[in-house]
Subunit: 107 residues, 4 copies
């Protein structure tokens, strides 16, 4: 079991691998997993909140309402709601219509 | 079950809908749900911490004491306390008088 | 049970009251409760991490090592460790000597 | 059991001691413990996410893919994934190959 050097710092083989990269429009200031683990929410300069399936990196949906950049997103403890806020002077609450069940059919 | 395109990105029907928008005074830097899920706290440039009922979007109360913008709010694990801090050189602790029971009668 | 207006917005009687204000030196960027609820950690421009007893607002201790402002503090899930980081190019780990038991005698 | 003064503020003997200092390249904006407590993730201006063993302060691995500074890191609730995001317009998901078991042999 080798331990190759990288940049002079001895490291283990990376425990976290298989990078999925999802493109968004501009800087992202906040990312949060839902407590039930089914979604990842991200938000930033491009005004929309994106909801991702963390298992596949697939875009699950977008929430568009803010008119200025979004600094903060947070899920409620039961994952049924998402709050978002930023520079536009509103706090927005988004509610899960299906309350944590998947409603997306694969393409 | 259709999967309409939006902006060229195939998406599911949004799982999170029914946006509630609550007006505050200026940029919001921090939002946090209480661990018991009964309240959402927000704070930012207008100096006050607002407490919202996340189910209805109704304003539950305001905490006014900071004299400069507030960067951070956090609930204690049992939801009985809220800490806030920012640019005015104080850290403030707010304690639930009724310890998590609702004390507001509907108007 | 009255519901007085405040600034034109109908509100409930504040559920969170009894504000404790603790003085620190300058802007605070981060505050976090330990998962076991016994401590509140704050940090910011004055370089030290302060640990507070959230029940009384009393200063429990200070952790001084950073040489530039601190942006982030976080407790480990079992509350035994605190991580801090900011502009000085170090990440610091602080370990509870008494592992969550109170070691402070009242003055 | 004495309570020595420090800077005029009466304090307890520090409950958190034994500072471990780990060097990184520049400002750190975000640090987060994995929910299972086995890792600490940090990220900031030098583009890489570092994973540390919080018990020893040892570098467990580095995740290099971002091309601009990283503002936010977050673990999934089961600790199997890490999300990172910042200025480069991507959100990255890193998955634990060994799903929470240690794969590093001591050097």
């Amino acid at each position: 079991m080798g331990t190759p050097s990288r940049g002079g710092v001895p490291t283990c083989r990376d425990e976290y691998v298989d990078d999925l990269a999802m493109l968004v429009g501009g800087s992202v200031w906040s990312c949060a997993f839902s407590p039930n683990g089914t979604l990842l929410a991200t938000a930033g300069n491009d005004l929309v909140i994106r909801l991702w399936d963390p298992g596949t990196g697939r875009l699950h949906g977008t929430l568009a309402a803010h008119t200025r950049r979004v600094w903060s997103v947070a899920f409620s403890p039961d994952s049924s709601m998402l709050a978002s806020a930023g520079d536009d002077g509103t706090v927005r609450l988004w509610t899960s219509r299906t309350r944590n069940t998947r409603s997306c059919a694969p393409p």
